[in-house]
Symmetry: C2
Subunit: 410 residues, 2 copies
């Protein structure tokens, strides 16, 4: 099992790396009490930031296929606001039903000791994963993510179902429309990051939704929600609230900006001058996705190579497992089947990703370069769209066209 680095260990690692002159340790400025980002955790220098405040970063794409469970310090980071400092001894999770005065609270110790520990391996993917490909069609608003704005981990904690039951709440019989989650990360006005999921999804998933306090067998790192986050497998990362301290059963969706005015999908002729965010639902389950992690785009194969080994990931939302990954080296004229590595989850309740691999003969008429295409198919036989043009949208979300990598063949 991978060991999570404590802050001090990360610092030592940084020092070691500095000696090797591979990475520069970022200079730690004098702490400014007015700077909400003064107390951010130290991070692995291997992460590639797409923004520093709030901190957002993806690991190198190639490392994703090295581990079925992404190591904690290499797991992609998506923060919307400064990372809060939470005292685990003072932590409590409050659960409320709209219209009822009384809320029920659980301490961290309660969550660990009063409920059976449940574990689920599941992908967290940013809605904007692969946005950088969409940007090439036309500018969009959002972080310029590559294809590594997702990772896969094993999450452990109490199940939402168990905790709600202990709080006297039965989602099956409760006539409410949404389950809201609030975090402890706050914007400058003091409003927390929040999200909600429709009751229908909560009912379907409830035994699989984890109020998580462990990530890959260790405490959840600060960047990923220490001490507690919600894991709602099969749906977009933005709803899986980190630093979770409040659950509200309500007839209303979360009023949070990111639920109401962001992370929704529009067609390509809707832009900022004519968008009406109320016309489509907030993204929950996400569509079938895949990408090639090896070889890297723009890389050069070995001299005289007559075959290429291709590796990557595939994943779909909604618990839909991956049934096929197809590869082409000739622009889609002919296709090859990748070997899928088992993720040991049922096909219709598959929350972890599927890593895959194939070794393919290079076309003889390659003229020094080859484009490798991958596309995946999920258990509903959903496919990825051919081109990014048809799915372009103003926020650059849901970018899941056929993935293409160009390599040189010397």
């Amino acid at each position: 099992m991978y060991a999570v680095h404590k802050n001090s260990e990360v610092f030592e690692m940084l020092e070691e790396l500095r000696i090797g002159n591979i990475f520069e340790v970022p200079k730690v400025p004098e702490k400014d009490k007015n700077d909400p980002y003064a107390n951010e955790p130290l991070r692995s220098p291997a992460l590639i930031p797409s923004s520093s405040t709030p901190f957002n970063a993806e690991p190198p794409l190639s490392i994703l296929v090295d581990n079925f469970l992404t190591p904690n310090d290499l797991f992609f980071v998506r923060n919307h606001l400064p990372v809060p400092i939470v005292d685990p001894k003072k932590y409590h999770l409050d659960i409320t039903v709209q219209g009822k005065r009384k809320s029920v609270s659980f301490t961290l110790d309660d969550l660990k000791k009063k409920f059976p520990k449940k574990t689920v391996a599941s992908v967290v993917q940013c809605a904007g994963n692969r946005r950088s490909e969409m940007v090439k069609v036309k500018a969009v608003k959002g972080l310029n993510w590559g294809a590594a704005a997702l990772s896969n981990a094993e999450w452990s904690g109490a199940s939402l179902d168990d905790v709600l039951k202990k709080a006297g709440i039965d989602l099956e019989s409760l006539d409410m429309e949404h389950v809201q989650f609030d975090g402890m990360d706050m914007d400058p006005t003091g409003a927390p990051y929040g999200a909600s999921i429709p009751m229908e999804l909560a009912r379907r998933l409830k035994k699989d939704i984890i109020i998580a306090y462990e990530m890959n067998g260790e405490e959840i790192p600060r960047d990923h929600g220490y001490p507690v986050r919600i894991i709602i497998p099969g749906i977009v990362g933005a709803r899986q609230v980190k630093w979770l301290n409040k659950i509200t059963i309500s007839n209303e969706e979360s009023s949070c900006h990111w639920q109401q005015k962001d992370y929704k999908g529009f067609h390509a002729s809707i832009d900022w001058h004519n968008v009406d965010f109320s016309t489509v639902p907030a993204i929950m389950e996400t569509p079938i996705q895949s990408a090639i992690c090896e070889p890297a785009n723009g890389s050069e194969l070995e001299e005289g190579a007559d075959e290429v080994t291709v590796k990557g990931y595939a994943w779909s939302g909604g618990g839909r497992g991956v049934v096929r990954v197809d590869l082409s080296l000739d622009g889609g004229k002919t296709w090859h089947s990748a070997e899928l590595k088992p993720n040991n989850q049922p096909l219709y309740k598959s929350y972890a990703w599927t890593l895959w691999e194939a070794t393919l003969p290079l076309p003889k008429d390659h003229k020094g370069k080859v484009e490798i295409i991958c596309k995946a198919v999920d258990s509903s036989y959903n496919v990825q769209p051919d081109n990014v043009d048809g799915i372009w949208n103003l926020r650059g979300v849901l970018s899941n066209a056929w993935y293409r990598v160009q390599v040189k063949v010397p």
Copy 2:
């Protein structure tokens, strides 16, 4: 409510239509006792057959958008074998668990009187809907379906959950892998049509799976499974066994040809010489689908028209509702939003289709013809693929590329 025509009424209707010289009444041959198709039901002459023995037919595409619930005699027909003649007084449904000797039987009267009547509006779609578009890329095996090999009806009966519970079977605790369904339609060797669904899907859907004895408030017509069929909302028609008389809880999938060696999806470089049907799972839930029902392909708009009203359907498997239908009149350069008619089902448990409509200005540079494109998006933000080439497969199933209609503008 639409009245189902009794055989005699259909015959009268045929006579009337004949007088109008619109349709020819097919000659009824002398009955041959050895002909398994000698006792087929009479059918609406409006249906457009794609094969006569077994009988398969779709309604005219344009009528689909006339009714949220497709009238029973216009509902598309997909038969794999001769239609059995079932005496409702002798009918019984047998329920067995693999490895247990005793089975439990229910008569038609039991199903009607011993269980609460549940109703679900749901689409039944043939896996081969829109196969005729795939054929244009390269020949496939299968009926040459247009885009009307699906229809939407309200199905009523006992829920599978209720019936299994009465039979002493609890799917949640039963450690078995599949639920098999057998029909009373038989091949020349005496083997029935059969299918199965994975236990994971049965558990998720069980309250919504209907052992149906009514279709749109009437007895189910013979072509659609009289007296009883299984309705498994959100999945492909092939598993929704008609003339159902046996349910088996088993560790095995149905051994039936159509489960094992048919209705699976492969990539375009797998053809009959190299196919291995065991490598991918049987189609269950189906991907997002949409089509334009009006105007018809090849039709001519009114002289001087400067706009066009477009109508169609959209539907996705797995209970995924439709969040958007996008239309383009300029090859995908610009897109318009269609107005979605509410289907009154929750977005994440939406088994009926969504009918839609839009009136769009014709491009000024139309040069006498316009291509109308539609593509839909489901609640998992799955999209339709741009082109049929990338999804071509040897059986011509899962044909759901952007739908295109050419119209003349005089």
